[in-house]
């Protein structure tokens, strides 16, 4: 069949991963999960290079560590700790929920609708929230350790 006029492509694209309108918190946790995952991957690649290329001689290792003890690098390391704490706990929530645990059973949709994520939001967000506790413990050590 001949199409008389072209249809307008209306895909949100990558902005659709980031922007979501007034959706609930899981939509933004999804974005954050992606961002932290990619951030940790980037750090990991740099870290792998640093720890392999400079470990052959004592001088080069100590010179590299001297640079990395700079407060700005310390701050960067703390951000990696934050990302790891969030990514692991949100990942744990995703593993539990994606395997269908804690999602409840299909229920008759009676208005106002309460979807399965909303029903379990209290404990699932408590699980993700423990990332803040971990972040605080690590913050103490970063401050004491300088």
């Amino acid at each position: 069949m001949r199409e008389p006029h072209p249809k307008r492509k209306n895909y949100l694209g990558i902005m659709g991963w980031i922007w979501g309108g007034n959706y609930r918190i899981e939509r933004y946790l999804y974005t954050l999960h992606r961002v932290t995952g990619l951030g940790i991957l980037l750090f990991f690649l740099v870290h792998l290079c640093v720890t392999t290329f400079f470990r052959m001689q004592q001088q080069s290792w100590e010179a590299a560590m001297e640079i990395l003890h700079n407060p700005w690098f310390k701050l960067g390391e703390y951000l990696v700790v934050l990302a790891f704490a969030y990514h692991s706990l949100n990942g744990l929530r995703l593993i539990i929920q994606e395997l269908g645990f804690g999602m409840g059973k299909p229920a008759p949709p009676i208005y106002p609708y309460r979807d399965s994520l909303r029903k379990s939001r209290r404990w699932s967000m408590a699980l993700v929230g423990t990332a803040a506790l971990i972040a605080l413990v690590f913050l103490y050590d970063f401050l004491v350790g300088g």
């Binding site: 006029h5 249809k7 939509r27 995703l94 395997l99 299909p106 949709p109 609708y113």
Partner: protein, 281 residues
């Protein structure tokens, strides 16, 4: 009795007419609204009184047909199911649903959704083919078995979950929340044996593993179908089949005998006799 007060609300509608231009623009209309008026009522008012060239799709006005899905104040919803008052804004922005091709103004092409829905074989597939074609009795099902998928049968194919899904925002081939939820709906139906055929599709590169539980589909669904729940349960079912560890493995017998707790009911007589019907000839 308190009189219904009329309030002027500005409607900003994204217009697109491929016959004139490839660009979109916003058209502004001022609509006098009363209490209980829906966004669809306002669109009909605009079409009748202000601009008859405005194109949108609508049919039932009661959230049954799934025609009037659109992006209202940056949130996908059925226009007939959204009261202007509950939006609590002076300006209402109405745009076509994203992640679907736009034909004109607010009319989106839902055929990608229908094609993907067709792909998951949304019908009962029986191992006993002759019985499926010419049933001799009813396929018995307990109320519990019905409730295990009943929620997912309320889908009206409006495309709102697809426009809410972040994966569908970039991946045009992704099956989408609607098709995957319907895949689970049929796979978990106790009368159905088509699991293997559908699992092949759900497990494909455009299938279920691109769902990362952003939950926006269930959040936006105007019928409370909860596609996210169906998809996670389908993941669990797939993992259970793949590992043989989680859950019970129910091997579908080649011939599923219908449970006859009651005496067989004769198949009802057709009121209209069709000469070409195989049953007659």
């Amino acid at each position: 009795m308190k009189e219904l007060s009329s309030k002027n609300i500005t409607f900003k509608i994204r217009r697109y007419n491929p016959e004139k231009s490839n660009k979109t623009h916003f058209a502004t209309f001022v609509v006098p609204t009363t209490r209980g008026m829906t966004v669809l009522d306002a669109l009909l008012y605009i079409k009748e009184n202000l601009d008859s060239t405005l194109a949108f799709r609508t049919s039932c006005r009661m959230a049954i047909c799934g025609s009037c899905g659109m992006l209202i104040n940056k949130y996908p919803h059925l226009a007939c199911h959204t009261q202007i008052e509950e939006l609590k804004t002076k300006t209402v922005t109405v745009e076509p649903l994203p992640n679907l091709p736009v034909i004109k103004d607010l009319v989106v092409d839902l055929s990608p959704l229908f094609e993907k829905h067709k792909l998951v074989k949304p019908y009962i597939i029986r191992a006993d083919r002759p019985e499926m074609d010419n049933p001799t009795a009813e396929f018995a099902q307990s109320p519990e078995e019905l409730e295990s998928f009943l929620q997912f049968t309320y889908c009206v194919k409006c495309g709102i979950c697809i426009s809410a899904c972040p994966t569908s925002a970039t991946d045009k081939q992704f099956l989408g929340p609607q098709a995957l939820a319907q895949c689970y709906r049929y796979c978990t139906d106790s009368r159905d044996d088509g699991e293997r055929e559908r699992f092949l599709l759900a497990d494909s590169e455009n299938g279920i593993w691109h769902c990362h539980l952003a939950g926006a589909c269930s959040d936006a669904c105007p019928k409370g179908v909860d596609p996210a729940l169906a998809i996670q349960l389908l993941k669990r079912q797939l993992v259970a089949r793949a590992t043989n560890l989680l859950g019970k493995r129910e091997l579908t017998p080649l011939v599923t005998p219908p449970v006859h707790s009651k005496p067989k009911l004769p198949f009802p007589q057709f009121t209209v006799n069709d000469k070409t019907d195989a049953r007659e000839g």
